[in-house]
Every structure is written in C-alpha cells, then in structure tokens.
C-alpha cells in the first residue's frame, strides 16, 4: 500500500514498510487491496473515511480475531479512525480467512508435489517389472 499522496513521505514509507508486517493494520489493508483490487486512491472511499485517517488506521496494531476482546479492539480502532466497525471487522476476518485458505492450499499443493516426486523417484529406482509370460 502506498499512501504517499495523502501523508508525508516518511509516514508513507513507514506505512508501506509496515505493510509487510502481519502484526499491523497496514498489512491487512494491503492484502485487502490486493484481494479486492482496490487502488490507493479509492481506499478511503471504500473505508468511508478521510485519507489521513487511513494512514492512521494502517499504523494501528491488528487485533487478533481469535481473542475474546477482538470486537472491543476493533471498536476502538474504528472510533479512532472513524471507520464503520463491522466493515473493519469483516475486512480483518476476510483477509485472515483468505490467507489461511491460501496457506492450506499451498500446503496441499506442496504435499501433492512431494508425493508425486516420491512416486517418480520410486519408479526410477525400482527394477522393471517382469511381464507375465503368455500361455503356450
């Protein structure tokens, strides 16, 4: 995510680099933009807040969706950035779910590739099977 146009370049750089750290909302927003193909310019409108507050949102720590205080944390962030809390909760959950799904698919793919590799190497190392002799 690049928010250079709406903040100082240092803030933009900080946000951009936090976009690679899964502990921060910058990461969530970055993934959400990728998933939904939302441009930097359109992000404030999608979130229904001011561009300056998108930057503020990106700098917040990401609440853990598995903890009991998730809703409370989301509400605090939503108030602080004037974003709708249900929208924010949905974004965090969506990004988390799709990432989990893609990781699981990746694991399955790697496992399948590994199995395929094992079979191939077994075939290479095992002696050719003898054809059954036909009856005279």
């Amino acid at each position: 995510m690049t928010i250079h146009s709406n903040s100082t370049s240092a803030m933009g750089e900080l946000v951009k680099r936090l976009g690679r750290n899964p502990k921060f909302m910058a990461y969530v927003l970055c993934r959400y933009q990728d998933q939904e193909e939302i441009s930097d310019e359109n992000l404030p409108a999608v979130l229904g807040t001011l561009p300056e507050l998108v930057c503020r949102l990106a700098l917040c720590r990401k609440p853990d969706a598995d903890t009991t205080n998730f809703a409370e944390r989301v509400r605090e962030i939503a108030d602080y950035t004037l974003v709708d809390e249900s929208l924010l909760a949905n974004i965090i959950r969506q990004v988390g779910s799709i990432e989990a799904l893609s990781k699981s698919s990746e694991h399955r793919f790697l496992a399948a590739a590994r199995d395929h590799g094992d079979i191939a190497s077994e075939e290479e190392s095992s002696p050719p099977t003898k054809k059954p002799e036909g009856k005279k």
Binding site: M11, L14, K62, E76, A78, D79, D84
Partner: protein, 210 residues
C-alpha cells in the same frame, strides 16, 4: 509543560500502552514522534544530497521500535531520545557509506560525525516549530470533518474519538446524557458515534437524533 516535556510524558504512557497490547498505541506513537524527529534531523542535516534520507532514517527508527518495543528500556532514557539516536545513527551510517562510495568529501561543517550522545540527553524538538507541526495535521483533519459535520456537539464527539478517548462519561457529558444509567449512556454513545460515522461516510450533514 514544554514541547519536549509533553513528548516525553506522552511517549512514556504510549510505550506502556503499546507493551500492554493497545492497538492504537503504535499509531499514536508514530503520529507523535514522526514530525518532531524529521524536523530535528532536517535542522541538523540540512544540506543532504538526498532529502529523503531523513525520512527514511526516521521511518526506519520507528519501524524497528514498533516491531520490537520491548528493546527500549524506559529506565535508561526517553523514547524521543531513543528514536532520535537510532535515526541519527542510521543517517550517519548512510552518509558515511555514501561518502566512501562517492570518494568525494562532504562538507564537514554540515555533516560532522560525533560520538553517540548519552541516552538521557535529549536533542532536537525543543523549538516552537514542534508544537506547530504536531497541531498541523490534526487541524487539517478537523477542517475536513467540520465541512461535513456542522453540529458542534457532534464535532466534539469526533474530536474525542480522534483523540482515542474511550471513557463513555466524556461522550455522555457532551451529548447531555450523563444523568442516564451507565448502560443507557453506553448504548446512546455508541448509537451517536455510529450515526456520526455514517454521516461522515456519506459526506452529508448529520441528522440530530439524540
């Protein structure tokens, strides 16, 4: 309270909140320190070949701190000083590397390498500019919000929200509902916050429905 005292006192509280897992603390810390750090470093290194180097160094210092806040020991110094030293070291290393690489001497008067300052000594940020820098962005946001939200109490509610105030009593007082029960106050405050957010979202004037 001077600017630097304000930075130090606020920074100390925010550091504790960050360690406690407050999701807003990282954002507040970045907003609080970024501009004063850039201002102070720009004044010291005012003749750099690349103006973005200061921005990069400050972003780097904040990024490292926010990623591992436990590395900062508040008993050894102030957070502003910690970030200042980190950003300055980064900048000096970069300048030194660049100087070696370019094999031409940079004006020593502008960029003089000095030993690290004691961690308790604070540099920069002690000028009146800091207060202006801190207030500037808040003012810009407030102006934009005022264009959409005309009701004064709604503006005050937004002001509290943007300050990260959580205590329902503050909102209840503004909304004139502080005589109601705690549960009712919480409900009405939430309802009003949501209404204001929707109004802001639509860029329309809010309807009064208290």
């Amino acid at each position: 309270m001077g600017d630097i005292d304000y930075l130090n006192a606020t920074g100390e509280g925010l550091h504790r909140e960050l360690l406690d897992g407050d999701p807003l603390a990282s954002s507040k810390i970045a907003e609080l320190f970024l501009r004063p750090l850039i201002g102070a470093l720009n004044r010291k290194f005012h003749n750099l070949s690349d103006a973005h180097l200061v921005n990069h160094a400050v972003a780097d210092a904040l990024l490292n701190y926010l990623a591992s806040p436990e590395k900062f020991d508040p008993t050894r110094g102030k957070l502003f000083t910690y970030l200042w030293v980190a950003a300055q070291s980064d900048l000096l290393n970069h300048i030194e590397g660049e100087r070696k690489h370019a094999s031409r001497k940079v004006d020593e008067k502008v960029v003089e390498l000095r030993p690290g300052r004691p961690v308790n000594e604070t540099e920069g940020g002690q000028d009146p500019e800091t207060a202006l820098l801190l207030a500037e962005e808040a003012w810009l946001i407030q102006t934009k919000i005022n264009d959409i939200i005309s009701d004064e109490s709604d503006r005050q509610v937004v002001g509290l929200m943007l300050d990260g105030v959580r205590d329902t009593a503050h909102f209840a007082k503004i909304l004139g509902i502080n005589e109601k029960s705690t549960e009712e106050q919480a409900l009405l405050v939430k309802r009003n916050k949501d209404r204001i957010k929707v109004a802001l979202q639509r860029g329309l004037k809010p309807r009064k429905s208290k």
